[in-house]
């Protein structure tokens, strides 16, 4: 397969996954903003955390002096200036898909092209923050469509592996960031850890990754921070957890290694990260510090992306 084709397949699904994750964060944020404010000193705390969770905080304040819900929604959903707005993600996904139209099945192409056309309409009609849920669930549907059409129609060859790698690298990145948001929202001094507000924040993190019910099934317990972290980092049966992402990443990289008859740097790196997650324990993570652990993970995940590029995409 052409390296350029592999590159476009990787980024096409990666951008769709990114759009979905931003939509999830927007959805969770708008829900949180309906609850009593986390902090009276910073009434925008939820919306600022949405910017952090999507790695758009700095880019946002390059454009605006002050955050308002309308601005954050516009910036994350529709902005042309924000390189990782949902609009830009879907445009990029479509541009990548268009560049490798021949490597896609018509179902997958139509899922992406249809989404891109529909996106123009959403953008034209300007979605209000109160109406963001309808838009966010549409974005999730798009992602499901793209994913589902690929699952049902794509040949299981190297191209399919490239697509899946894009999904899981991006998803691991997003889950780590969403979890790390907790670090950015400082509890007001008088709020006890494990109090009502703390509970709300952890539960909204679970919602953002569709894990609210899963948590109950797995732990049959009220929401406890270390269990949320365990679920989203170490539990392989949780499909958005870091361990699950890396189980998939190593699988698809091994498939590529088998197909091409050659292993390389990306296989070695992925295996190293995966085994650390598989053998990891929550206590250790909390000892290192959750934020430090996640920061380190994000850096490693980024390095793996670079290794994949080096090995296959150029």
């Amino acid at each position: 397969m052409l390296s350029r084709t592999a590159d476009s397949l990787f980024w096409m699904t990666r951008y769709v996954e990114r759009a979905e994750n931003i939509a999830r964060v927007l959805h969770a944020t708008s829900r949180m903003s309906l609850m009593p404010h986390i902090s009276n000193e910073e009434p925008m705390a939820e919306w600022l955390s949405a910017l952090s969770a999507t790695a758009s905080y700095n880019a946002f304040f390059e454009q605006y002096d002050e955050a308002t819900p309308e601005r954050v929604v516009e910036f994350l959903a529709f902005s042309e200036a924000n390189p990782s707005s949902i609009f830009r993600c879907l445009s990029n996904a479509r541009a990548n898909a268009r560049a490798v139209r021949t490597a896609l099945t018509s179902d997958t192409w139509e899922a992406i092209n249809g989404a891109w056309m529909e996106m123009q309409r959403f953008r034209r009609d300007a979605v209000a923050p109160s109406d963001i849920n309808r838009f966010a669930s549409w974005v999730k549907d798009v992602s499901l469509n793209v994913d589902g059409s690929a699952f049902r129609t794509m040949l299981r060859n190297d191209g399919f592996c490239m697509q899946r790698l894009g999904v899981y690298i991006e998803r691991a990145d997003a889950t780590a960031r969403i979890l790390d948001v907790k670090y950015h929202i400082l509890l007001p001094a008088h709020e006890p850890v494990g109090g009502g507000l703390d509970y709300l924040q952890w539960s909204s993190i679970l919602r953002a990754v569709s894990a609210h019910t899963a948590y109950r099934w797995v732990y049959r317990s009220s929401i406890k921070p270390w269990l949320v972290a365990e679920l989203l980092i170490l539990r392989e049966e949780m499909p958005r957890s870091l361990a699950s992402c890396y189980s998939n990443i190593t699988y698809h990289l091994d498939e590529l290694g088998r197909t091409y008859g050659r292993q390389g740097e990306s296989q070695r790196q992925a295996r190293r990260i995966y085994s650390r997650l598989k053998n990891g324990r929550t206590e250790e993570i909390y000892q290192t510090g959750l934020h430090e652990f996640l920061t380190e993970f994000l850096a490693e995940n980024g390095r793996l992306g670079a290794a994949i590029t080096e090995q296959y995409l150029i």
């Binding site: 052409l2 268009r98 490798v100 021949t102 018509s106 139509e110 092209n113 590529l256 150029i314």
Partner: protein, 473 residues
């Protein structure tokens, strides 16, 4: 005064020509709401599949779909057989002409063509002098534009011998028609066209370099997503089952062309290139080209890779050369042309120029090297001021222009805002030539000028397309 056009459906004593009988019945049985609804369905289908084209000069990324007309254009088997014999003859002559022009140049020695028409022609590639191409096939893929003016009167309007496009519309139009109107196909014996990609693949395989393996590696070279015909490039690569490559995917080492893949470099034997000569190799042609492959010409000249179409074929579809095509054909084949040429005034000749300037209001004047309907004057449709401005351009640079009478292009019923109405059409059949002979699919692409009275069918100028049928007599 405008002559009345031949109506391909209605120009018959009983009001309907034989090949159109059933289509006419079908049309009269369809309420206009149904036609309108089907038209919208068709547009939706085209948009969803992404059959778009970009128009140069408009905002980048601007994508439009070519309007599709639901009423098929019908040719009888007998008509098609005559046309295809003429097309085959014409393409044979053009291949012989190219072998000669880049070889011994006997046609110049015989005084049939003025040498400056070749040597001063920007489409002439001196790099190709003395070169041979596999099986003597210079234009494996030709798109010959035909127009009809009467029952048996077909003219060749243009020989497209560089990178003719439009074949994807021919194929998609048929698919959409079969989806929308299955009952229509049940009633007719319409010759299929969907074997075109197979024929194209066999053609390309047949002209692989002699040193290539039995199953040669073929790639389709595109300028990239911003090219107006990009959709077609992806479509064809898909149907051919070959890689769609851009210049940056290829590299040349020791006169061998490779593509960069996830498994390293892979040798390429045949390139179906949709990039023009000037852009194909920055070392030989335009150094600023980002679309080409450095050194590709060296691999080509070493015979390690076949380019389809060959480099330098533009010399044969030039509008000035066109006017000599009947003489060229007789010179090489010793036959009379089956298909007629449109009478052409070469403005480079003083007598012709004087005539053209006197009769601007009845002629179509075209740039010799232009294409796509840009830079032309349709005399009868233009106002006096436009004609005067054009006359000045003409006098300043007569060599650059030819003129032809305004042909009364045939019309075909077409769905318009006010119901069915006749609109002018042309026809671009695609002719494939390989080592083992000439291949066709019956029909081709019918383009239709959607504006009332317009004679310009180019998609960039408001033209649309129709499905084209060849039906048994």
């Amino acid at each position: 005064m405008k002559p009345t056009a031949f109506d391909e459906m209605k120009s018959a004593e009983d009001g309907c020509r034989q090949p159109y009988k059933r289509v006419a019945e079908w049309l009269s049985s369809l309420p206009s709401e149904v036609i309108e609804q089907k038209r919208e369905e068709a547009e939706l289908l085209f948009r969803r599949v992404g059959i778009t084209f970009a128009v140069y000069g408009e905002g980048q990324g601007e994508e439009r779909i070519i309007p599709f007309d639901l009423v098929p254009r019908v040719l009888s088997r007998g008509e098609w057989n005559r046309l295809s014999a003429g097309l085959e003859q014409r393409v044979r002559a053009i291949n012989a002409f190219l072998s000669d022009i880049y070889g011994k140049q006997e046609i110049l020695a015989a005084g049939i063509l003025p040498p400056e028409l070749i040597f001063q022609n920007p489409a002439f590639r001196p790099e190709m002098m003395g070169k041979q191409v596999p099986a003597g096939v210079w234009i494996p893929i030709a798109g010959i534009d035909l127009v009809r003016v009467g029952q048996d009167d077909f003219y060749v309007l243009e020989d497209n011998a560089r990178t003719p496009s439009g074949v994807s519309y021919m194929l998609e139009n048929r698919e959409v028609m079969m989806l929308l109107f299955p009952e229509l196909f049940a009633r007719h014996q319409v010759a299929p066209v969907d074997n075109y990609p197979d024929e194209l693949l066999s053609t390309l395989q047949s002209i692989a370099p002699a040193t290539a393996p039995k199953d040669p590696t073929i790639a389709l070279l595109t300028p990239g997503p911003f090219n107006s015909a990009y959709y077609e490039h992806t479509f064809l690569a898909d149907r051919l089952g070959v890689e769609l490559v851009e210049g940056r995917d290829l590299l040349v080492r020791d006169e061998v062309c490779y593509m960069r893949t996830t498994e390293g470099l892979q040798r390429v034997d045949v390139i179906y290139r949709r990039v023009d000569d000037e852009y194909i190799d920055p070392l030989t042609f335009r150094p600023d080209s980002m679309l080409g492959v450095a050194g590709l010409m060296s691999a080509y000249e070493a015979g390690n890779v076949t380019l389809a179409n060959a480099v330098g074929t533009g010399i044969s579809d030039d509008k000035a050369i066109y006017s000599y095509m009947p003489e060229i054909l007789s010179f090489y084949l010793g036959e009379d042309p089956i298909l007629k040429n449109v009478p052409t005034w070469r403005c480079r000749e003083p007598d012709a120029l004087a005539y053209v300037l006197d009769h601007l209001d009845e002629l179509v004047v075209k740039e010799v090297h232009g294409s796509g309907g840009y830079g032309m004057l349709v005399g009868p449709a233009a106002d006096q001021a436009t004609r005067d401005a054009f006359a000045a351009k003409l006098k300043a640079d007569p060599e650059n222009f030819i003129a032809q009478p305004t042909l009364a292009l045939s019309t075909c019923p077409t769905w318009t805002e006010t119901g069915l109405a006749p609109r002018h059409v042309d026809l671009r059949p695609f002719v494939l030539t390989g080592k083992d002979g000439v291949r066709f699919v019956p029909g081709g692409l019918t383009r239709v000028a959607l504006r009332d009275g317009s004679l310009v069918v180019n998609s960039s100028q408001g033209g649309g397309t129709k499905d084209t049928w060849v039906v048994d007599d």
